[in-house]
Every structure is written in C-alpha cells, then in structure tokens.
C-alpha cells in the first residue's frame, strides 16, 4: 500500500532522483543525437565568445567591463541556464503544457504538480551549456574555494531567475490561452539581455533590467558577485530571485484553478 501521508523531503528527493535518472536514460536513448546537440551548443557559445574577443581587441574596456568579465557573464548565464534546463527541462515548455492539456497527467498523480512538471524533462542541449560554463570558469575564473563558491552561487541565482521568469510567462497560458509564442519570444529576449553587460544600459532601460525584466541580476553577477563583491547587489539579487520564484509558484497555483485541460493526444518523452 502506498504511504500517502508520509512523504516529506526524503520522498521528494527519491522521486526527483528517479525522475532525473529516467530523464537521462531517455536522453541517452539516442546516443549520437545527445552528443551532437550538447556539443553544438558548446561550440555555439564559444562562437559568441569569439565575437566578443574581436570586439574587446579593439575596445579593451567598455564601461569598466573587460573580456574576462564578459566571459564570466557567459559562464554564469550559460551555466545557470544549463543546470536548470538539465534538471527542470520543462521550464521553457510550461505554456505549451498548459495550453495543450498535458497537465492532466501530472494533476492525476500525487506529487507537487509544478515540481513534477519541471523535473519531467531534461534538455539535451543544456548539457553543452552547463559544461561550457564550467570550462570558462576553469579558464578565466578565480580558481580558489571562495571563487568556486561565489561562482556556484552565481549559477544558482542565474538558473533560478531563468526558471522564475519563464514560470511567470508560462502561466499566462492559464489566463490568455495559447501563449506559446509569447513564451518563446520572452525566453529569447531574456537570454539575450542576460548576455550583454548591464552597464551599457542607462536610465529606463537599466531600471527595466532590474525590475520588470530582471536580466540585469544575471548579467551583473560577474561584477557584483565575482569581481568586486557587493553585498547590496548580492542581497538584492537573492531577494529578487526569491520574490520572482515565490510569485511564480503562487501564480501557477492560482492558474491551476482556471486550468481548462484539453483533448490533445499526448505521450511522455
């Protein structure tokens, strides 16, 4: 007999562990595809760095940013996006899952719906993003215990910010129906904005990056967390992450009450 009332953190951990094991097994079903997709993403990120390298060879310092800072910004952005996409790979698909009625399967099972949805997919390309982040940090980062811990905190915050923002955008599907297009556009814009030095934006654009579109909390991490530790910025980044995550969860729960299901034929992959 199942133990409906026990559960707790151990049960959730066992469930997540099995979910991730199964996701990985599913991704490894197609060996060549796995290697190609992960490898291509790794190379794609490197090409961006190559362009930044060309840029900084002409303008060595831009608003206080050097090539190393931009490389670490990419390491944090790609690495953060990578781990969250590896472990919670459905975070970019919430709008699709809601608007096509795929949520039914998760709602029919007893685990927390949002966690179950998020952990039920692993993005293969994300492995390339994550490894890219680690490689860049090993290359230009501060290779000390403190440096590694700060980088790990940066990855954690960046990943959770990506997750929180996409959760908000994905939840739009509960209220406006088909919002898959908006979600894809929002993801693209947010990723782009988080990979440009935040110091190049001024005035309203800068205010936006630290409020409505909080990509600035990711792109400024190489400076405010890694280069010159700024306790105010780090506290603000942690608070923003908690606020965005918390409000995203609340929005999802509220949205579930308006969920309208659907009749699309679906399979878990």
């Amino acid at each position: 007999m199942s133990t409906g009332d026990s559960g707790g953190l151990r049960a959730i951990a066992a469930f997540l562990g099995t979910c991730w094991k199964i996701n990985l097994a599913s991704a490894l079903e197609y060996r060549l595809s796995f290697a190609l997709l992960a490898g291509m993403m790794f190379i794609n990120n490197f090409i961006w760095l190559f362009f930044w390298n060309l840029f900084f060879s002409r303008f060595p310092i831009v608003q206080g940013w050097e090539l190393r800072d931009v490389m670490l910004m990419w390491a944090i952005g790609a690495g953060g996006f990578g781990w969250v996409n590896l472990l919670f790979g459905n975070f970019t698909r919430i709008a699709t899952i809601v608007s096509t009625g795929e949520l039914d399967l998760y709602l029919a099972q007893p685990k927390p719906v949002l966690l179950h949805v998020l952990a039920s997919r692993m993005s293969i390309t994300a492995a390339g993003d994550f490894v890219f982040g680690l490689v860049i940090f090993a290359w230009v980062g501060e290779r000390t215990l403190l440096g590694a811990l700060a980088f790990a905190l940066g990855l954690l915050l960046a990943g959770l910010l990506f997750l929180g923002v996409m959760l908000h955008v994905g939840c739009l599907a509960f209220f406006i129906g088909n919002s898959e297009g908006i979600a894809q556009q929002a993801l693209g814009s947010f990723v782009s904005l988080s990979t440009y030095p935040s110091s190049i934006f001024k005035g309203a654009a800068r205010a936006m990056l630290f409020s409505l579109i909080p990509a600035g909390f990711i792109s400024y991490l190489p400076i405010g967390l890694l280069k010159h530790f700024d306790p105010w910025f780090v506290t603000a980044a942690i608070a923003a992450t908690a606020l965005i995550g918390g409000s995203g969860i609340a929005l999802f729960r509220f949205g579930l009450k308006r969920y309208a299901s659907g009749n699309l034929i679906a399979a878990r992959s």
Binding site: M1, S2, F15, T18, S26, E29, Q109, A260, A266
Partner: protein, 328 residues
C-alpha cells in the same frame, strides 16, 4: 459504502464565438464575443465501493470533463463531490494516492523508455515501500503477461501492449477506484477481450471500483453492472446493465463472407433476423437475440454455403445511445 458521490456537479467553460473565415477571425480579433458553454450540467452520481460503472454519452456529452472533475484535474463551476472520502479539487494529492487513472489518449508511460522505467518512477511517485513495490510489480507483470515487453521502449510497443502496460502502471499503487477513459480505443477484438478480463479480475480480486467511459458496447456489456448515460452535460439514465442488455444490447450484427455469390432469395429465412443486405459474396444481417440465437442463424448457412469469413458485432455505442434517447 460509497466510493463516489456527486451532487449538482457543473462545469461551464467560456468559449470564444467566431464566424467562419478570415472575416470572422478579424471581427473576433477586434471585438471578441464570448459565450458560456455548459460542459456538465448539475449531475448527481452515486457509485458504491466495488461497483463497475459505465459512464456513457456521445462525443462532447461531458464524460471526460466529469472524470477530470472527479479526479481533481478540473475545478467545477459549482456542485459538490467526494471521491473515496476526499473532495477532488481541494484534496487532489491525498485523493491521487487512492485512485488510478487511465486516459486512453494520454500516456503516462515514457515514450522512449521501457515500461519498467515508468513503473520505477510510479513506485516513487506513490511512495511505495521498495519490497512492496517489487512484489506488486512482479504480480502485475505476471497477471498482465508483460514479461516480453518490459525492456522494449514504449515507442516500439503495439497499441494493445502499451495499453496493458498503462493499466498495469495505474494499478501499481493498489487504487481503490480506477477511472478508465476509453481504455480500449483503437484496439483489436482479441486485445480488447484480454484487457476486459484483466480489469474484471482486478475488480473481483481487489474489489477495485471501476468507473469507465467507452464507445465500445462490449466494454459495457462485459465489464459493468450499471450504466450512467450523460447527454448535453446532464444525466439521462441510470440503469443496471442487465436492463440495457435486455432492451438494447439484444441485437447483434452478423457479417458473413461466402465462398460464392448468392442472391437474396437463396438465403435461409430465420425468425428474428432483420435488415438483411447482400452485396456480392457478403451477407449482412441483424439478429434479435430475444427471438433467435446467433448459432441458430449460422446453422442456416453452414452446410448450405461455403463460409470464408464471419464477424459478429455489437451495435455501435452511438446506436445504443440513440435508442436510449428515443425512449426518453
């Protein structure tokens, strides 16, 4: 003891009204018009523990919406329900430990992995103790004869094999109440029969309450003791299957392919057969089982004609429902 009770359960959706064509789309985009569609209207349901109930209705009648409200997937617009003691939409997680669901069109098996991996995950989802999980899994593998498919990726299984795995997966945590939404959709006769046997066996051995929707009269006839018919969102009929069998399922359609062409005049005249149609070598006729048995009809053909092929079918569900509507 009641497994399920619903009172005044209602679900209304807000649906956008749009005229046909591009013009309609533009007008709807500029000035959207909404209308309220009542998917389920004020229905009352009572299902006892251990009962097997068929929940029937034509497409769009509100069957799936009702099941989704009873499993906590959808919140009703109004009304109350308790399922194995829980209010589905308020105590969804607690309820989920006690019920099982099989949606014929939504697979809970991981498409690229063997069923064994999904079983493992389901064991974790329902927090089954490891030894209990292993024992239960082995029991279901044996009962459902899943041995040969366990290590084959789901995408390579036939629909029938997949559905057996789906039902076994939904039974792993020993649900008290099993919701089956079109479990035999798209399956061939032999597989349908096997799946019915397996569900029936679970109902008998573990007293699992079964709440089933189907378009297949055979599912209803062989599995269920009671029939609930829903139409336009409202409950139209609640009768024992025996009565439906007597009044509606008393007709079978027999299709016989003969070895040579035959004219209608040459056919045997058996009392109780109606609507006889001959097309080349194929003879199609309806039998009223209250007046003649299938065997009796066939005996008129065997010996007189060479028979190449033969099928005996129940009337389609739509016809049964139409008959019921006609009576009301």
């Amino acid at each position: 003891m009641e497994a399920l009770r619903a009172r005044g359960l209602t679900k209304a959706f807000r649906v956008k009204r749009k005229d046909q064509g591009l013009g309609g789309s533009l007008r709807s985009w500029l000035r959207p018009e909404w209308e309220e569609k009542i998917a389920v209207a004020n229905i009352d349901l009572d299902v006892g523990r251990g009962e097997t109930v068929a929940f029937l209705g034509p497409n769009g009648a509100g069957k799936s919406t009702t099941i989704k409200m009873l499993t906590g997937i959808l919140h009703p617009s109004s009304g109350e329900a308790t399922v194995v003691g829980f209010t589905p939409w308020r105590e969804r997680a607690k309820l989920a430990y006690r019920i099982g669901t099989v949606f014929g069109q939504k697979s809970q098996l991981w498409y690229h992995l063997p069923p064994l991996d999904t079983f493992e995950l389901i064991g974790r989802i329902y927090e089954m103790k490891r030894d209990d999980y292993a024992k239960r899994r082995e029991d279901l593998i044996e009962r459902f004869e899943l041995g040969p498919y366990l290590r084959t990726p789901v995408r390579k299984l036939s629909l029938g094999e997949r559905m057996r795995c789906e039902i076994a997966a939904s039974l792993l945590h020993r649900p008290e109440l099993l919701f089956l939404d079109e479990p035999t959709i798209g399956l061939d006769v032999v597989v349908k029969q096997r799946i019915r046997e397996l569900i029936r066996e679970r109902n008998r051995s573990e007293e699992t309450t079964v709440f089933l929707t189907s378009h297949d009269a055979g599912d209803v006839e062989e599995l269920c003791s009671r029939v609930l018919v829903i139409h336009h969102g409202g409950l139209l009929l609640d009768e024992p299957v025996e009565r439906i069998k007597r009044d509606v399922l008393s007709r079978k359609t027999i299709t016989i392919t003969l070895a040579a062409e035959v004219s209608p005049e040459e056919l045997p005249c058996v009392q109780g057969t109606e609507n006889v149609a001959v097309a080349g070598r194929q003879v199609r006729l309806e039998v009223d089982l209250r007046r003649a048995g299938v065997e009796e009809v066939l005996s008129g053909f065997i010996g007189r004609f060479g028979i190449e092929d033969l099928t005996v079918e129940d009337p389609p569900m739509e016809e049964i429902i139409k008959h019921i509507y006609g009576e009301r």
